[in-house]
Protein backbone atom coordinates (compact mmCIF):
# COMPACT_ATOMS: atom_id res chain seq x y z
CA UNK A 1 0.00 0.00 0.00
CA UNK A 2 1.52 3.32 -1.06
CA UNK A 3 2.81 5.50 1.70
CA UNK A 4 5.62 8.02 1.72
CA UNK A 5 8.25 6.83 4.15
CA UNK A 6 10.55 9.16 6.07
CA UNK A 7 13.58 8.26 3.97
CA UNK A 8 11.71 8.82 0.75
CA UNK A 9 10.48 12.16 2.07
CA UNK A 10 14.07 13.23 2.58
CA UNK A 11 14.99 12.16 -0.94
CA UNK A 12 11.95 13.98 -2.27
CA UNK A 13 12.78 17.23 -0.52
CA UNK A 14 16.38 17.02 -1.72
CA UNK A 15 15.19 16.34 -5.26
CA UNK A 16 12.71 19.19 -5.11
CA UNK A 17 15.28 21.64 -3.76
CA UNK A 18 17.90 20.52 -6.25
CA UNK A 19 15.63 20.84 -9.24
CA UNK A 20 14.11 24.07 -7.94
CA UNK A 21 17.36 25.90 -7.31
CA UNK A 22 19.52 24.62 -10.16
CA UNK A 23 18.61 27.22 -12.82
CA UNK A 24 19.78 29.98 -10.48
CA UNK A 25 23.31 28.58 -10.58
CA UNK A 26 23.50 26.26 -13.58
CA UNK A 27 24.48 26.69 -17.20
CA UNK A 28 22.23 26.54 -20.20
CA UNK A 29 23.28 23.05 -21.28
CA UNK A 30 22.22 21.48 -18.03
CA UNK A 31 19.06 23.53 -17.80
CA UNK A 32 18.09 22.02 -21.12
CA UNK A 33 19.11 18.55 -19.95
CA UNK A 34 17.30 18.81 -16.62
CA UNK A 35 14.13 19.94 -18.36
CA UNK A 36 14.38 16.76 -20.39
CA UNK A 37 15.03 14.73 -17.25
CA UNK A 38 11.98 16.16 -15.50
CA UNK A 39 9.81 15.46 -18.54
CA UNK A 40 11.10 11.90 -18.57
CA UNK A 41 10.48 11.78 -14.82
CA UNK A 42 6.80 12.55 -15.37
CA UNK A 43 6.77 9.95 -18.13
CA UNK A 44 8.38 7.35 -15.86
CA UNK A 45 5.98 8.10 -12.97
CA UNK A 46 3.07 7.56 -15.32
CA UNK A 47 4.45 4.16 -16.27
CA UNK A 48 5.06 3.40 -12.60
CA UNK A 49 1.33 3.86 -12.05
CA UNK A 50 0.84 0.96 -14.46
CA UNK A 51 3.63 -1.47 -13.68
CA UNK A 52 4.37 -0.53 -10.10
CA UNK A 53 0.85 -0.02 -8.80
CA UNK A 54 -1.66 -1.63 -11.14
CA UNK A 55 0.44 -4.58 -12.28
CA UNK A 56 0.01 -3.82 -15.97
CA UNK A 57 3.26 -4.35 -17.88
CA UNK A 58 2.83 -2.04 -20.82
CA UNK A 59 5.57 -2.05 -23.43
CA UNK A 60 3.82 0.54 -25.55
CA UNK A 61 3.68 3.46 -23.17
CA UNK A 62 5.67 5.74 -25.48
CA UNK A 63 2.65 5.81 -27.79
CA UNK A 64 0.86 8.28 -25.51
CA UNK A 65 3.97 10.39 -25.03
CA UNK A 66 4.29 10.52 -28.82
CA UNK A 67 0.70 11.26 -29.84
CA UNK A 68 0.70 14.13 -27.38
CA UNK A 69 3.87 15.50 -28.95
CA UNK A 70 2.29 15.20 -32.38
CA UNK A 71 -0.77 17.03 -31.10
CA UNK A 72 1.45 19.93 -30.08
CA UNK A 73 2.90 19.96 -33.59
CA UNK A 74 -0.54 19.86 -35.12
CA UNK A 75 -1.57 22.98 -33.24
CA UNK A 76 1.68 24.88 -33.68
CA UNK A 77 2.57 23.95 -37.24
CA UNK A 78 -0.68 23.01 -38.93
CA UNK A 79 -3.14 25.31 -37.14
CA UNK A 80 -0.66 28.00 -36.09
CA UNK A 81 -2.23 28.14 -32.67
CA UNK A 82 0.26 28.80 -29.91
CA UNK A 83 -1.93 29.12 -26.84
CA UNK A 84 -0.74 26.49 -24.39
CA UNK A 85 -4.00 26.79 -22.46
CA UNK A 86 -5.58 25.19 -25.50
CA UNK A 87 -2.74 22.91 -26.60
CA UNK A 88 -1.96 21.34 -23.26
CA UNK A 89 -5.46 20.04 -22.46
CA UNK A 90 -5.90 18.95 -26.06
CA UNK A 91 -2.62 17.02 -26.00
CA UNK A 92 -3.66 15.30 -22.78
CA UNK A 93 -7.07 14.52 -24.19
CA UNK A 94 -5.65 12.98 -27.35
CA UNK A 95 -3.22 10.87 -25.32
CA UNK A 96 -6.03 9.83 -23.00
CA UNK A 97 -8.30 8.94 -25.89
CA UNK A 98 -5.62 6.77 -27.49
CA UNK A 99 -5.07 5.11 -24.12
CA UNK A 100 -8.80 4.48 -23.85
CA UNK A 101 -8.98 2.71 -27.22
CA UNK A 102 -5.72 0.79 -26.90
CA UNK A 103 -6.46 -0.02 -23.27
CA UNK A 104 -9.95 -1.25 -24.07
CA UNK A 105 -8.51 -3.68 -26.61
CA UNK A 106 -5.52 -4.72 -24.50
CA UNK A 107 -6.79 -5.22 -20.96
CA UNK A 108 -8.92 -8.12 -22.05
CA UNK A 109 -5.66 -10.02 -22.25
CA UNK A 110 -3.06 -10.73 -19.60
CA UNK A 111 0.56 -11.73 -19.11
CA UNK A 112 2.75 -12.05 -22.18
CA UNK A 113 -0.19 -11.16 -24.37
CA UNK A 114 -0.71 -7.81 -22.73
CA UNK A 115 2.97 -6.97 -23.15
CA UNK A 116 2.99 -7.90 -26.80
CA UNK A 117 -0.29 -6.23 -27.65
CA UNK A 118 0.56 -2.91 -26.06
CA UNK A 119 3.87 -3.09 -27.92
CA UNK A 120 2.14 -3.86 -31.19
CA UNK A 121 -0.38 -1.03 -30.88
CA UNK A 122 2.37 1.45 -30.13
CA UNK A 123 4.21 0.22 -33.21
CA UNK A 124 1.02 0.69 -35.17
CA UNK A 125 0.89 4.37 -34.24
CA UNK A 126 4.62 4.58 -34.88
CA UNK A 127 4.08 3.19 -38.38
CA UNK A 128 1.18 5.57 -38.91
CA UNK A 129 3.22 8.69 -38.20
CA UNK A 130 6.17 7.32 -40.13
CA UNK A 131 4.15 6.60 -43.25
CA UNK A 132 2.31 9.88 -43.43
CA UNK A 133 3.90 12.69 -45.33
CA UNK A 134 1.57 15.06 -43.49
CA UNK A 135 3.30 14.21 -40.23
CA UNK A 136 6.82 14.61 -41.59
CA UNK A 137 7.59 10.95 -42.19
CA UNK A 138 10.71 9.41 -40.65
CA UNK A 139 12.37 12.80 -40.28
CA UNK A 140 9.61 14.22 -38.14
CA UNK A 141 8.83 17.92 -37.99
CA UNK A 142 10.89 20.82 -36.70
CA UNK A 143 9.17 24.05 -35.78
CA UNK A 144 10.23 27.45 -34.53
CA UNK A 145 7.42 28.89 -32.47
CA UNK A 146 6.84 27.32 -29.11
CA UNK A 147 3.54 27.24 -27.29
CA UNK A 148 3.02 29.99 -24.73
CA UNK A 149 0.64 30.50 -21.89
CA UNK A 150 -1.57 33.35 -22.96
CA UNK A 151 -4.95 34.91 -22.40
CA UNK A 152 -6.33 36.59 -25.47
CA UNK A 153 -3.27 38.17 -27.02
CA UNK A 154 -1.47 38.75 -23.75
CA UNK A 155 1.43 36.40 -23.22
CA UNK A 156 1.70 35.39 -19.58
CA UNK A 157 4.54 32.96 -19.91
CA UNK A 158 6.64 32.46 -23.02
CA UNK A 159 7.89 28.89 -23.17
CA UNK A 160 10.63 29.66 -25.70
CA UNK A 161 12.48 31.06 -22.71
CA UNK A 162 14.44 28.12 -21.28
CA UNK A 163 14.01 29.17 -17.68
CA UNK A 164 10.27 29.59 -18.11
CA UNK A 165 9.96 26.16 -19.65
CA UNK A 166 12.16 24.74 -16.93
CA UNK A 167 9.93 26.02 -14.16
CA UNK A 168 6.76 25.02 -15.96
CA UNK A 169 8.18 21.50 -16.24
CA UNK A 170 9.21 21.60 -12.62
CA UNK A 171 5.70 22.62 -11.56
CA UNK A 172 4.16 19.92 -13.70
CA UNK A 173 6.46 17.34 -12.20
CA UNK A 174 5.56 18.39 -8.67
CA UNK A 175 1.88 18.49 -9.60
CA UNK A 176 2.06 15.04 -11.19
CA UNK A 177 3.75 13.66 -8.10
CA UNK A 178 1.19 15.14 -5.73
CA UNK A 179 -1.65 14.05 -7.99
CA UNK A 180 -0.38 10.47 -8.02
CA UNK A 181 0.34 10.40 -4.31
CA UNK A 182 -3.20 11.62 -3.58
CA UNK A 183 -4.64 9.26 -6.15
CA UNK A 184 -2.91 6.29 -4.58
CA UNK A 185 -4.43 7.08 -1.18
CA UNK A 186 -7.91 7.42 -2.62
CA UNK A 187 -10.36 4.52 -2.83
CA UNK A 188 -9.53 4.16 -6.51
CA UNK A 189 -5.80 4.10 -5.77
CA UNK A 190 -6.29 1.48 -3.08
CA UNK A 191 -8.35 -0.60 -5.45
CA UNK A 192 -5.76 -0.66 -8.24
CA UNK A 193 -3.08 -1.63 -5.75
CA UNK A 194 -5.36 -4.45 -4.70
CA UNK A 195 -5.61 -5.49 -8.35
CA UNK A 196 -1.85 -5.71 -8.59
CA UNK A 197 -1.55 -7.90 -5.50
CA UNK A 198 -4.50 -10.21 -6.03
CA UNK A 199 -6.67 -9.66 -9.05
CA UNK A 200 -8.90 -12.71 -8.57
CA UNK A 201 -9.79 -11.78 -5.03
CA UNK A 202 -10.64 -8.24 -6.03
CA UNK A 203 -13.07 -9.60 -8.59
CA UNK A 204 -14.60 -11.96 -6.05
CA UNK A 205 -15.12 -9.00 -3.71
CA UNK A 206 -17.18 -7.27 -6.36
CA UNK A 207 -14.72 -4.99 -8.14
CA UNK A 208 -14.92 -4.57 -11.88
CA UNK A 209 -11.27 -5.28 -12.63
CA UNK A 210 -11.40 -4.20 -16.26
CA UNK A 211 -12.82 -0.79 -15.35
CA UNK A 212 -10.12 -0.23 -12.78
CA UNK A 213 -7.35 -1.28 -15.14
CA UNK A 214 -8.71 0.77 -17.99
CA UNK A 215 -9.06 3.86 -15.82
CA UNK A 216 -5.51 3.45 -14.59
CA UNK A 217 -4.33 2.96 -18.17
CA UNK A 218 -6.07 6.15 -19.28
CA UNK A 219 -4.72 8.22 -16.38
CA UNK A 220 -1.22 6.96 -17.09
CA UNK A 221 -1.73 7.76 -20.76
CA UNK A 222 -2.75 11.33 -19.95
CA UNK A 223 0.28 11.83 -17.73
CA UNK A 224 2.56 10.44 -20.40
CA UNK A 225 0.86 12.98 -22.64
CA UNK A 226 1.88 15.77 -20.26
CA UNK A 227 5.47 14.59 -20.57
CA UNK A 228 5.13 14.46 -24.35
CA UNK A 229 3.85 18.02 -24.37
CA UNK A 230 6.94 19.19 -22.50
CA UNK A 231 9.35 17.27 -24.68
CA UNK A 232 7.77 18.53 -27.91
CA UNK A 233 7.88 22.08 -26.56
CA UNK A 234 11.42 21.73 -25.28
CA UNK A 235 12.86 20.42 -28.53
CA UNK A 236 10.29 22.08 -30.83
CA UNK A 237 10.56 18.86 -32.72
CA UNK A 238 8.66 15.65 -33.12
CA UNK A 239 9.65 12.35 -34.64
CA UNK A 240 8.14 8.86 -34.93
CA UNK A 241 10.91 7.58 -32.67
CA UNK A 242 9.09 9.28 -29.78
CA UNK A 243 6.61 6.39 -30.05
CA UNK A 244 9.04 3.59 -30.78
CA UNK A 245 9.33 0.57 -28.55
CA UNK A 246 12.90 1.60 -27.73
CA UNK A 247 11.43 4.67 -26.07
CA UNK A 248 8.97 2.45 -24.19
CA UNK A 249 11.81 0.14 -23.17
CA UNK A 250 13.96 3.03 -21.99
CA UNK A 251 11.28 4.47 -19.76
CA UNK A 252 10.67 1.00 -18.33
CA UNK A 253 14.36 0.77 -17.51
CA UNK A 254 14.04 4.12 -15.70
CA UNK A 255 11.15 2.85 -13.61
CA UNK A 256 12.90 -0.37 -12.63
CA UNK A 257 16.25 1.30 -12.07
CA UNK A 258 14.62 3.87 -9.80
CA UNK A 259 12.50 1.24 -8.13
CA UNK A 260 8.91 0.61 -9.09
CA UNK A 261 6.01 1.32 -6.82
CA UNK A 262 7.63 4.31 -5.15
CA UNK A 263 6.99 7.24 -7.57
CA UNK A 264 10.08 9.15 -6.49
CA UNK A 265 12.11 6.18 -7.69
CA UNK A 266 10.93 6.92 -11.22
CA UNK A 267 12.30 10.43 -10.91
CA UNK A 268 15.62 9.07 -9.65
CA UNK A 269 15.65 6.54 -12.48
CA UNK A 270 15.10 9.23 -15.10
CA UNK A 271 17.82 11.35 -13.52
CA UNK A 272 20.34 8.53 -13.18
CA UNK A 273 19.84 6.99 -16.58
CA UNK A 274 19.88 10.27 -18.49
CA UNK A 275 22.95 11.61 -16.72
CA UNK A 276 24.69 8.28 -17.19
CA UNK A 277 23.89 8.31 -20.89
CA UNK A 278 24.94 11.94 -21.22
CA UNK A 279 28.30 11.29 -19.65
CA UNK A 280 29.37 7.92 -20.97
CA UNK A 281 28.07 8.51 -24.47
CA UNK A 282 30.82 11.05 -25.07
CA UNK A 283 33.48 8.79 -23.61
CA UNK A 284 32.95 5.73 -25.75
CA UNK A 285 31.20 5.09 -29.04
CA UNK A 286 29.95 1.77 -27.81
CA UNK A 287 28.46 3.07 -24.59
CA UNK A 288 25.23 1.18 -25.24
CA UNK A 289 27.20 -1.95 -24.43
CA UNK A 290 27.71 -0.58 -20.93
CA UNK A 291 24.05 0.43 -20.84
CA UNK A 292 22.94 -3.08 -21.81
CA UNK A 293 25.16 -4.65 -19.17
CA UNK A 294 23.87 -2.12 -16.69
CA UNK A 295 20.23 -2.98 -17.42
CA UNK A 296 20.97 -6.68 -16.98
CA UNK A 297 22.84 -5.99 -13.76
CA UNK A 298 19.84 -4.08 -12.39
CA UNK A 299 17.55 -7.01 -13.22
CA UNK A 300 19.92 -9.49 -11.62
CA UNK A 301 21.19 -7.65 -8.58
CA UNK A 302 18.94 -4.69 -7.89
CA UNK A 303 15.37 -5.66 -8.80
CA UNK A 304 14.00 -3.17 -6.26
CA UNK A 305 15.94 -0.33 -7.81
CA UNK A 306 17.49 2.71 -6.20
CA UNK A 307 14.49 3.56 -4.04
CA UNK A 308 14.37 -0.04 -2.80
CA UNK A 309 18.00 0.24 -1.75
CA UNK A 310 17.34 3.55 -0.02
CA UNK A 311 14.45 2.06 1.93
CA UNK A 312 16.38 -1.01 3.04
CA UNK A 313 19.40 1.09 3.98
CA UNK A 314 17.30 3.43 6.08
CA UNK A 315 15.63 0.43 7.74
CA UNK A 316 19.05 -0.87 8.68
CA UNK A 317 19.86 2.47 10.27
CA UNK A 318 16.67 2.43 12.30
CA UNK A 319 17.17 -0.89 14.01
CA UNK A 320 15.86 0.63 17.21
CA UNK A 321 12.26 0.58 16.04
CA UNK A 322 11.55 -2.84 14.59
CA UNK A 323 9.08 -3.10 11.73
CA UNK A 324 5.51 -3.39 12.79
CA UNK A 325 4.88 -6.85 11.40
CA UNK A 326 7.16 -8.35 14.02
CA UNK A 327 5.07 -7.11 16.91
CA UNK A 328 2.28 -9.01 18.58
CA UNK A 329 2.11 -12.52 20.02
Amino acid sequence: MYAISRSSLIVLILLGLGFGIYPLVGDSYYIRLLTKIMALGIFAMSLDLLIGFTGLISLGHAAFFGVSAYTVVWFVVKMEILNAFLIFPAALAVAGLCALVIGWLSIRTAGIYFIMITLAFAQMLHAFFKDQHYWGGTDGINFNDKPMLMVGDTVLFDLSNKINLYYLTFSLMVAAFIFLAVLLRSPFGRAIQGVKVNEGRMRAMGYNINHLKLMSFVIAGCLAGAAGFIEATRTSFVNPEYLSWHASGNVMVMVILGGMGSLYGSLLGALALTLLGDNISSLWDHWLLIMGGFVIAVVMFMPDGISGSIESLSRRFRKASPPREETGP
Binding site: I51, I57, L59, L105, R108, T109, G111, I112, Y113, I115, M116, I117, L119, A120, F121, Q123, M124, H126, A127, F128, K130, D131, Q132, H133, W245, H246, G249, M252, V253, I256, D285, H286, L288, L289, M291, G292, G293, F294, V295, I296, V298, V299, M300, P303
Partner: protein, 288 residues
Protein backbone atom coordinates in the same frame (compact mmCIF):
# COMPACT_ATOMS: atom_id res chain seq x y z
CA UNK B 1 -2.44 -5.67 -64.02
CA UNK B 2 -2.91 -9.22 -65.19
CA UNK B 3 -3.05 -12.54 -63.42
CA UNK B 4 0.70 -13.04 -63.53
CA UNK B 5 1.12 -9.82 -61.55
CA UNK B 6 -1.05 -11.06 -58.69
CA UNK B 7 0.60 -14.43 -58.89
CA UNK B 8 4.05 -12.94 -58.47
CA UNK B 9 2.95 -10.65 -55.66
CA UNK B 10 1.45 -13.70 -53.94
CA UNK B 11 4.78 -15.50 -54.35
CA UNK B 12 6.52 -12.46 -52.85
CA UNK B 13 4.14 -12.50 -49.89
CA UNK B 14 4.56 -16.20 -49.28
CA UNK B 15 8.32 -15.94 -49.45
CA UNK B 16 8.27 -13.19 -46.80
CA UNK B 17 5.80 -15.28 -44.80
CA UNK B 18 8.22 -18.18 -44.74
CA UNK B 19 10.99 -16.01 -43.33
CA UNK B 20 8.60 -14.72 -40.69
CA UNK B 21 7.59 -18.25 -39.82
CA UNK B 22 11.18 -19.28 -39.15
CA UNK B 23 11.56 -16.42 -36.67
CA UNK B 24 8.08 -16.63 -35.15
CA UNK B 25 8.10 -20.41 -34.63
CA UNK B 26 11.06 -20.14 -32.27
CA UNK B 27 9.53 -17.15 -30.53
CA UNK B 28 6.20 -18.88 -29.95
CA UNK B 29 7.83 -22.07 -28.63
CA UNK B 30 10.02 -20.12 -26.24
CA UNK B 31 6.90 -18.31 -24.98
CA UNK B 32 4.78 -21.43 -24.82
CA UNK B 33 7.21 -23.92 -23.35
CA UNK B 34 9.63 -21.84 -21.36
CA UNK B 35 7.27 -19.01 -20.40
CA UNK B 36 9.92 -16.53 -21.48
CA UNK B 37 9.25 -13.35 -23.40
CA UNK B 38 12.40 -13.01 -25.44
CA UNK B 39 12.69 -9.58 -27.03
CA UNK B 40 16.22 -10.43 -28.14
CA UNK B 41 14.87 -13.02 -30.57
CA UNK B 42 15.05 -10.55 -33.44
CA UNK B 43 18.73 -10.04 -32.66
CA UNK B 44 19.38 -13.65 -33.67
CA UNK B 45 17.96 -12.82 -37.09
CA UNK B 46 20.28 -9.83 -37.35
CA UNK B 47 23.25 -11.84 -36.08
CA UNK B 48 22.47 -14.58 -38.60
CA UNK B 49 22.51 -12.06 -41.42
CA UNK B 50 25.82 -10.55 -40.31
CA UNK B 51 27.31 -14.00 -39.79
CA UNK B 52 26.24 -14.89 -43.29
CA UNK B 53 27.83 -11.76 -44.72
CA UNK B 54 31.03 -12.26 -42.75
CA UNK B 55 31.43 -15.97 -43.40
CA UNK B 56 30.42 -15.67 -47.04
CA UNK B 57 33.12 -13.12 -47.65
CA UNK B 58 35.52 -15.32 -45.70
CA UNK B 59 34.82 -18.50 -47.70
CA UNK B 60 33.75 -16.70 -50.85
CA UNK B 61 30.71 -18.97 -50.97
CA UNK B 62 27.22 -18.39 -49.62
CA UNK B 63 26.45 -22.04 -48.93
CA UNK B 64 29.66 -22.60 -47.01
CA UNK B 65 28.94 -19.39 -45.13
CA UNK B 66 25.49 -20.57 -44.07
CA UNK B 67 26.76 -24.04 -43.25
CA UNK B 68 29.43 -22.62 -40.99
CA UNK B 69 27.03 -20.08 -39.52
CA UNK B 70 24.41 -22.54 -38.26
CA UNK B 71 26.57 -24.24 -35.59
CA UNK B 72 27.73 -20.81 -34.44
CA UNK B 73 24.10 -19.75 -34.03
CA UNK B 74 23.24 -22.93 -32.12
CA UNK B 75 26.21 -22.36 -29.85
CA UNK B 76 25.21 -18.73 -29.27
CA UNK B 77 21.69 -19.88 -28.38
CA UNK B 78 22.98 -22.45 -25.90
CA UNK B 79 25.37 -19.93 -24.40
CA UNK B 80 22.69 -17.26 -23.91
CA UNK B 81 20.29 -19.79 -22.41
CA UNK B 82 22.87 -21.22 -20.03
CA UNK B 83 24.33 -17.92 -18.83
CA UNK B 84 21.37 -15.57 -19.12
CA UNK B 85 17.90 -16.86 -19.75
CA UNK B 86 18.29 -19.56 -17.10
CA UNK B 87 18.06 -16.85 -14.43
CA UNK B 88 14.74 -15.67 -15.73
CA UNK B 89 12.57 -18.79 -15.47
CA UNK B 90 11.26 -17.89 -12.05
CA UNK B 91 11.17 -14.17 -12.61
CA UNK B 92 8.27 -11.92 -13.46
CA UNK B 93 7.65 -11.11 -17.14
CA UNK B 94 8.65 -7.54 -16.38
CA UNK B 95 12.21 -8.59 -15.62
CA UNK B 96 12.29 -10.86 -18.64
CA UNK B 97 11.35 -7.90 -20.79
CA UNK B 98 14.08 -5.75 -19.27
CA UNK B 99 16.73 -8.44 -19.32
CA UNK B 100 16.18 -9.24 -22.97
CA UNK B 101 15.98 -5.52 -23.74
CA UNK B 102 19.46 -5.26 -22.23
CA UNK B 103 20.54 -8.21 -24.36
CA UNK B 104 19.40 -6.35 -27.48
CA UNK B 105 21.64 -3.42 -26.60
CA UNK B 106 24.56 -5.74 -25.98
CA UNK B 107 24.04 -7.73 -29.19
CA UNK B 108 23.71 -4.47 -31.11
CA UNK B 109 26.94 -3.04 -29.74
CA UNK B 110 28.83 -6.30 -30.14
CA UNK B 111 27.77 -6.29 -33.76
CA UNK B 112 28.93 -2.71 -34.06
CA UNK B 113 32.33 -3.58 -32.59
CA UNK B 114 32.84 -6.80 -34.55
CA UNK B 115 31.28 -5.93 -37.88
CA UNK B 116 30.61 -2.18 -37.88
CA UNK B 117 27.40 -0.28 -38.52
CA UNK B 118 27.47 -0.28 -42.28
CA UNK B 119 24.84 -1.75 -44.51
CA UNK B 120 26.37 -4.74 -46.23
CA UNK B 121 25.33 -6.61 -49.33
CA UNK B 122 25.67 -10.36 -49.79
CA UNK B 123 26.16 -11.63 -53.33
CA UNK B 124 23.66 -14.15 -54.63
CA UNK B 125 25.66 -17.13 -55.87
CA UNK B 126 26.04 -17.44 -59.63
CA UNK B 127 23.90 -20.57 -59.91
CA UNK B 128 20.91 -18.88 -58.24
CA UNK B 129 21.29 -15.39 -59.62
CA UNK B 130 19.06 -15.51 -62.68
CA UNK B 131 15.40 -14.75 -63.08
CA UNK B 132 12.70 -16.91 -64.63
CA UNK B 133 10.88 -14.92 -67.33
CA UNK B 134 7.10 -15.10 -66.99
CA UNK B 135 5.75 -12.43 -69.35
CA UNK B 136 7.46 -9.85 -71.54
CA UNK B 137 8.45 -7.73 -68.56
CA UNK B 138 7.72 -9.91 -65.52
CA UNK B 139 10.18 -12.43 -64.21
CA UNK B 140 10.81 -14.07 -60.87
CA UNK B 141 14.28 -14.21 -59.31
CA UNK B 142 15.59 -17.75 -58.86
CA UNK B 143 17.04 -17.00 -55.44
CA UNK B 144 13.63 -16.09 -54.01
CA UNK B 145 12.27 -19.37 -55.27
CA UNK B 146 15.22 -21.01 -53.54
CA UNK B 147 14.33 -19.31 -50.25
CA UNK B 148 10.77 -20.51 -50.43
CA UNK B 149 11.86 -24.07 -51.22
CA UNK B 150 14.42 -24.21 -48.40
CA UNK B 151 11.91 -22.78 -45.94
CA UNK B 152 9.23 -25.23 -47.04
CA UNK B 153 11.66 -28.07 -46.45
CA UNK B 154 12.59 -26.67 -43.06
CA UNK B 155 8.96 -26.14 -42.05
CA UNK B 156 8.18 -29.71 -43.08
CA UNK B 157 11.13 -31.00 -41.08
CA UNK B 158 9.98 -29.00 -38.08
CA UNK B 159 6.51 -30.44 -38.48
CA UNK B 160 7.89 -33.99 -38.58
CA UNK B 161 10.11 -33.45 -35.55
CA UNK B 162 7.23 -32.03 -33.55
CA UNK B 163 4.61 -34.55 -34.64
CA UNK B 164 6.67 -37.73 -34.90
CA UNK B 165 9.55 -37.73 -32.42
CA UNK B 166 9.75 -38.11 -28.69
CA UNK B 167 11.32 -34.68 -28.37
CA UNK B 168 8.44 -33.30 -30.41
CA UNK B 169 5.92 -34.96 -28.10
CA UNK B 170 7.55 -33.38 -25.10
CA UNK B 171 7.58 -30.01 -26.81
CA UNK B 172 3.92 -30.27 -27.74
CA UNK B 173 3.00 -31.32 -24.22
CA UNK B 174 5.08 -28.47 -22.83
CA UNK B 175 3.47 -25.89 -25.06
CA UNK B 176 -0.02 -26.92 -24.04
CA UNK B 177 0.70 -27.48 -20.38
CA UNK B 178 4.00 -26.40 -18.93
CA UNK B 179 3.30 -27.63 -15.41
CA UNK B 180 2.48 -31.10 -16.68
CA UNK B 181 5.84 -31.57 -18.36
CA UNK B 182 7.57 -30.44 -15.21
CA UNK B 183 5.49 -32.92 -13.25
CA UNK B 184 6.31 -35.77 -15.63
CA UNK B 185 9.94 -35.80 -14.56
CA UNK B 186 11.35 -34.75 -17.91
CA UNK B 187 14.75 -33.10 -17.79
CA UNK B 188 13.47 -29.55 -17.99
CA UNK B 189 16.89 -27.94 -18.12
CA UNK B 190 17.80 -29.96 -21.19
CA UNK B 191 14.44 -29.39 -22.88
CA UNK B 192 14.66 -25.65 -22.33
CA UNK B 193 18.20 -25.50 -23.67
CA UNK B 194 17.20 -27.42 -26.79
CA UNK B 195 14.11 -25.30 -27.43
CA UNK B 196 15.97 -22.04 -26.97
CA UNK B 197 18.94 -23.05 -29.12
CA UNK B 198 16.60 -24.35 -31.80
CA UNK B 199 14.63 -21.10 -31.80
CA UNK B 200 17.81 -19.05 -31.98
CA UNK B 201 19.16 -21.17 -34.82
CA UNK B 202 15.91 -20.91 -36.81
CA UNK B 203 15.89 -17.13 -36.48
CA UNK B 204 19.57 -16.90 -37.39
CA UNK B 205 19.03 -19.19 -40.38
CA UNK B 206 16.20 -16.95 -41.56
CA UNK B 207 18.61 -14.02 -41.32
CA UNK B 208 21.20 -15.92 -43.33
CA UNK B 209 18.99 -16.84 -46.26
CA UNK B 210 17.41 -13.36 -46.19
CA UNK B 211 20.77 -11.55 -46.25
CA UNK B 212 21.17 -11.56 -50.05
CA UNK B 213 17.69 -10.16 -50.69
CA UNK B 214 17.28 -7.78 -47.75
CA UNK B 215 20.90 -6.70 -47.38
CA UNK B 216 22.46 -6.70 -43.95
CA UNK B 217 21.83 -3.70 -41.72
CA UNK B 218 21.83 -2.96 -37.99
CA UNK B 219 18.09 -2.47 -37.37
CA UNK B 220 16.94 -5.55 -39.26
CA UNK B 221 16.53 -7.48 -36.00
CA UNK B 222 14.16 -4.94 -34.47
CA UNK B 223 11.96 -4.88 -37.52
CA UNK B 224 11.51 -8.61 -37.75
CA UNK B 225 11.02 -8.94 -33.99
CA UNK B 226 8.01 -6.67 -33.95
CA UNK B 227 6.43 -8.32 -36.97
CA UNK B 228 7.11 -11.75 -35.49
CA UNK B 229 5.44 -10.71 -32.24
CA UNK B 230 2.40 -9.74 -34.27
CA UNK B 231 2.52 -13.17 -35.93
CA UNK B 232 2.67 -14.89 -32.54
CA UNK B 233 -0.19 -12.80 -31.18
CA UNK B 234 -2.30 -13.66 -34.21
CA UNK B 235 -1.41 -17.34 -34.20
CA UNK B 236 -1.70 -17.84 -30.45
CA UNK B 237 1.16 -18.32 -27.99
CA UNK B 238 2.75 -21.74 -28.21
CA UNK B 239 1.07 -22.82 -31.42
CA UNK B 240 3.35 -23.76 -34.32
CA UNK B 241 0.33 -24.11 -36.57
CA UNK B 242 -0.80 -20.65 -35.53
CA UNK B 243 2.65 -19.24 -36.19
CA UNK B 244 2.59 -20.68 -39.70
CA UNK B 245 -0.84 -19.33 -40.59
CA UNK B 246 -0.10 -16.02 -38.90
CA UNK B 247 3.19 -15.69 -40.82
CA UNK B 248 1.52 -16.35 -44.15
CA UNK B 249 -1.31 -13.94 -43.33
CA UNK B 250 1.10 -11.19 -42.36
CA UNK B 251 3.47 -11.91 -45.25
CA UNK B 252 0.65 -11.49 -47.75
CA UNK B 253 -0.95 -8.55 -45.94
CA UNK B 254 2.37 -6.74 -45.85
CA UNK B 255 3.15 -7.35 -49.52
CA UNK B 256 -0.25 -6.38 -50.85
CA UNK B 257 -0.53 -3.54 -48.35
CA UNK B 258 2.72 -2.06 -49.62
CA UNK B 259 1.39 -2.16 -53.17
CA UNK B 260 -2.21 -1.10 -52.72
CA UNK B 261 -1.99 1.25 -49.74
CA UNK B 262 1.37 2.95 -50.22
CA UNK B 263 0.67 5.53 -47.52
CA UNK B 264 -0.70 3.13 -44.96
CA UNK B 265 1.48 0.09 -45.56
CA UNK B 266 2.96 0.06 -42.08
CA UNK B 267 -0.43 0.06 -40.41
CA UNK B 268 -1.87 -2.85 -42.40
CA UNK B 269 -0.39 -5.70 -40.38
CA UNK B 270 -1.42 -4.13 -37.07
CA UNK B 271 -4.93 -3.65 -38.36
CA UNK B 272 -5.02 -7.35 -39.25
CA UNK B 273 -3.86 -8.09 -35.71
CA UNK B 274 -6.48 -5.86 -34.12
CA UNK B 275 -9.23 -7.54 -36.12
CA UNK B 276 -8.06 -11.02 -35.15
CA UNK B 277 -7.88 -9.94 -31.49
CA UNK B 278 -11.38 -8.53 -31.48
CA UNK B 279 -12.60 -11.82 -32.82
CA UNK B 280 -10.35 -14.14 -30.78
CA UNK B 281 -8.43 -12.43 -27.96
CA UNK B 282 -6.27 -15.53 -27.48
CA UNK B 283 -5.20 -15.70 -31.14
CA UNK B 284 -6.22 -18.17 -33.83
CA UNK B 285 -4.90 -21.26 -32.09
CA UNK B 286 -4.28 -19.99 -28.58
CA UNK B 287 -5.67 -21.63 -25.49
CA UNK B 288 -8.48 -19.85 -23.70
Amino acid sequence: MDISYYLIQTLNGIQYGFLLFLVASGLTLIFGIMGIINLAHGSFFMIGAYLCWWLTSLFDNLFLGILAGIPLAVFLGLFIERFGIVYLYKRDHLYQVLFTFGLILIFGEMRSILWGNEVQGVMIPEMLSGAIPLTDTQSYPVYRLFISLVCTALAAALYLVIQRTRLGMTIRAGASNREMVQALGIDIAKLFAIVFAMGAALAAFAGMVAAPVQSVFPTMGDEILIVSLVVVVIGGVGSIKGAFLGAMLIGLADTFGAVFLPHGAGVVIYTVMAIVLLWRPQGLFGRT
